[in-house]
């Protein structure tokens, strides 16, 4: 048990150091960065990113990808606010939003897991489909909501902490638990390690794909609902390009495209890295043009450093194997 945890810690050690360094740097360099108000808000944005990224992590652990995450966010925000504007109860509206995510997830899972379509192609297509459905549903307009509950979901506080913080903390704990301690989580790691091996061990792979994509869809929808809550309105463009940030987060967190190793802990640190970087650069007063260049550069440096550290460790480990 201990040994496993230790090795997991080793894998993210470098990144963790980087995150701490970044945090300390920003605290001193960026005016207003180190303060409860800002950090609390950063935490909120971090957790929204993390909710979507935790679904993506599971998918990438399977060795697949979900390009539709951003569009699903937009779709969920539109469906929820649209249902509200039709006078549905908030519970139904939220359920509707989540359902929309689940349906796109199911479609992804079906195309990838059952029909065996290439996962990139399939989810690339559903990305367009979900975005299109969102646009058609809202007729290209922004849907405002006058629901205080939706607003509370996005901005409300309980005991001085945002609702999102409580919610995401519980959700992420569950996700962490499910992915590392339960049979389902083991199945994901197994299939990511080798689909054939998993199948020969009696795991029904298509079911796991279906369920994982549905979970990813629901989590993306949740992210979209929180975004809608923050703005108290639905917008078909809120998730545009978000999937790229999410995928970058997962990769920076040390879960490789091949799947089978890594996990949520790494993703969390990857998310902290990205969010602090974005917030810090913006607080430092860099213009968007410079932020573009610096964020891209930071992603590349993080990944290159990670690759080279891993390569070196791999070589070391090989040398340690008893001959």
């Amino acid at each position: 048990m201990k040994r496993n945890d230790y090795s997991r810690y080793r894998e993210i050690k470098g990144l963790l150091a980087g995150v701490l360094l970044l945090f300390v740097f920003m605290s001193f360099a960026a005016e207003g960065f180190f303060g409860w108000y800002n950090l609390h808000n950063v935490l909120k944005d971090l957790l929204i990113l993390m909710i979507v990224a935790s679904g993506m992590t599971l998918v990438i652990l399977l060795g697949k990808i979900d390009m539709s995450a951003g569009s699903v966010m937009s779709l969920a925000s539109i469906v929820t606010t649209l249902l509200l504007s039709y006078g549905f109860h908030i519970a139904f509206a939220l359920l509707g939003g989540l359902l929309a995510g689940a349906i796109i997830g199911l479609l992804n899972g079906y195309l990838v897991g059952v029909l065996n379509l290439n996962h990139f192609v399939a989810t690339f297509a559903t990305m367009s489909i979900a975005k299109g459905l969102a646009l058609v549903a809202c007729n290209g307009d922004i849907i405002s909501s006058d629901s205080d509950i939706l607003l509370f979901i996005g901005t409300g506080k309980i005991f001085g902490l945002f609702f999102i913080v409580w919610f995401a903390a519980i959700l992420l704990l569950i996700m962490f638990f499910v992915s590392t301690k339960t049979k389902f989580g083991y199945k994901i790691y197994s299939i990511g390690g080798s689909e054939q091996v998993a199948r020969l061990s009696g795991i029904k792979t298509s079911n796991v794909y279906l369920v994982t994509y549905v979970i990813a869809g629901i989590l993306a929808a949740l992210g979209g609902i929180f975004m809608a809550g923050k703005a108290n309105s639905g917008n078909a463009t809120i998730g545009d390009g978000y999937e790229f940030s999410v995928i970058a987060t997962v990769l920076i967190g040390g879960t490789p495209f091949e799947g089978g190793k890594g996990g949520l802990l790494g993703t969390l640190i990857g998310a902290i890295f990205l969010v602090i970087l974005k917030n810090g650069l913006s607080m430092l007063g860099f213009t968007p043009a410079w932020q573009y260049a610096l964020i891209g550069l930071a992603i590349l440096i993080a990944i290159v450093a990670d690759v080279s550290i891993n390569e070196r460790r791999k070589a070391e480990e090989k040398r340690r194997v008893k001959l």
Partner: protein
């Protein structure tokens, strides 16, 4: 008392209209080791996959302990009591030993959330590993294990099912002799505990040691059941191939020519101070346990791994740095261990693979002439007797032996002077093996130099002029053809 545990009746199976198994009848008795032999493509693995629920049969019935059973999934087979160790490794490198052993049927603590009982996994895995005489922490990642240890994990995985019938598909292919002996001990132990074992192997010399009964498959049919006492190896081979193979290793030894390959104090990641040399017209063997550094030496000479110390001398010229491009330019060829991943491009045609290495030399202007290409590919396909309807067939559709011949054809086509063969006959049937030995002999007669790595000692002794033994990344001894015996080589390897 009826002591038949598994009975197979009239099983047939065909893939896309091509029959692979026809009317197989077989019965496995309680606590016996039932060996199945046959050439590659004879249908052994297919039969095993049907029994273990990977494939579905077209026709026929299975009886387990006298009762008819329907096995239509892996899970079902496991529940019935049939376990299998597949030919290819079925382990997840980034998971621990325990997680691998219990893969797909982890014990759970609570039913609702299906929480895995990690401590139980550890405890039970430890017991299994102890039973197998392995002193490793079950929390170790498989990634960190050697090949032999991985094989043992496979065995442990099959054991923990409490299977009544255990299928082993070529379990010793990657094991060294010492480990094989250990495996046999375990098999005997299992047998004494009432487990039946279906054992598939290419290594005929092993069979005598453990088999109780023997079934020979050829072209999807059973050609004979033998009891092991009155079967000779020659007889078995005859039944497998359908013809007599006399003297597999036909070498003629000539005086050899100049020295073309020499390493001077060569050192890299997993070996150091290696000094070996190869002359024209000579086959030099490298023997050693799996993981001793043999493959790494070959890959370093070929430029795939970096040279850390010393040098490689080719045709008398010293090289401190090597790359695969440089090596191919110097007419060195490597027939790697892993045919599917490193030898040939499975998704491309025979033609593309054969001309792959010679392209830049064949088409100096860099423009490919299809006519020339076809002619060259066809020539080598015929010369090596690659059995395929056309040169445009994809390599993945060929049998293992023919795939290996495509890899060799690639280097012959590139007119290599120095060839490195890494386990050239692994997983290849007897007939094709003999053909590959023939090709190698012919190559050295034409004045090429061959460095050969093999775990199959009779093969090494039969083919080589000289043999180096490697242990822990060091050369421990050198034997000439006349000195080499299995005992001496083993002693130097272990």
């Amino acid at each position: 008392m009826n002591d038949t545990i598994l009975e197979i009746r009239n099983i047939s199976k065909s893939f896309s209209g091509v029959p692979v198994l026809e009317d197989i009848n077989m019965s496995i008795k309680k606590s016996e080791v039932h060996v199945i032999v046959g050439e590659n493509g004879a249908g052994k693995s297919t039969l095993m996959k049907i029994i273990s629920g990977v494939y579905r049969k077209d026709k026929g019935d299975l009886f387990f302990e006298g009762k008819p059973v329907q096995i239509n999934s892996v899970q079902k087979a496991l529940n019935v009591g049939i376990g299998i160790i597949h030919q290819e490794f079925n382990l997840l490198p980034h998971r621990s030993i325990g997680q691998n052993i219990f893969l797909g049927r982890e014990p759970i603590k609570s039913n609702f959330l299906k929480v895995i009982d990690h401590d139980l996994i550890c405890k039970k895995s430890k017991e299994l590993l102890d039973y197998l005489g392995l002193d490793i922490d079950p929390r170790t990642l498989v990634y960190n294990l050697g090949i032999a240890q991985q094989q043992m994990v496979e065995v442990a995985k099959a054991l923990c099912f409490k299977s009544k019938v255990l299928i082993m598909d070529e379990p010793t292919a990657t094991l060294t002799r010492k480990e094989t002996v250990k495996l046999f001990e375990i098999i005997r132990k299992l047998k004494s505990e009432g487990v039946s074992i279906i054992y598939i192997s290419h290594r005929l010399e092993e069979i005598k040691q453990i088999a109780d009964t023997l079934t020979v498959l050829r072209d999807g049919r059973i050609v004979g059941d033998l009891s092991i006492e009155n079967a000779s190896i020659d007889q078995i081979i005859r039944m497998m191939v359908g013809r007599e193979i006399k003297d597999q290793y036909k070498r003629q030894y000539h005086m050899h020519g100049e020295e073309v390959l020499k390493t001077e104090n060569l050192g890299a990641k997993r070996f150091s101070n290696v000094n070996i040399n190869v002359h024209r017209g000579e086959i030099v063997g490298l023997s050693g346990l799996v993981g001793a550094g043999r493959t790494e030496i070959a890959k370093t000479i070929f430029g795939e791994d970096a040279i850390e110390k010393g040098s490689v001398n080719i045709y008398g010229k010293k090289y401190h740095r090597m790359s695969t491009q440089k090596a191919t330019k110097l007419r060195i060829g490597l027939v790697p261990e892993d045919r599917k991943e490193e030898g040939a491009i499975m998704e491309m045609s025979i033609r593309h693979n054969i001309v792959h290495a010679v392209l830049p030399r064949l088409f100096k202007s860099s423009v490919i002439s299809k006519k020339t290409e076809l002619a060259v590919a066809t020539k080598y396909m015929e010369e090596l007797g690659i059995k395929a309807p056309s040169v445009n067939k994809l390599v993945k559709l060929l049998s293992g032996g023919n795939q290996q011949k495509v890899v060799i054809a690639k280097w012959m086509c590139a007119d290599c002077e120095i060839l490195i063969f890494d386990e050239p006959t692994r997983g290849i049937d007897v007939g094709a093996k003999a053909e590959i030995y023939g090709i190698m002999s012919e190559l050295v007669e034409r004045g090429k130099a061959i460095l050969m790595i093999s775990s199959d000692l009779p093969e090494l002794i039969g083919m080589c002029d000289r043999i180096y033994t490697i242990k822990d990344g060091m050369v421990t001894a050198e034997f000439s053809r006349t000195e080499a015996t299995q005992e001496k080589i083993l002693a130097a390897c272990v």
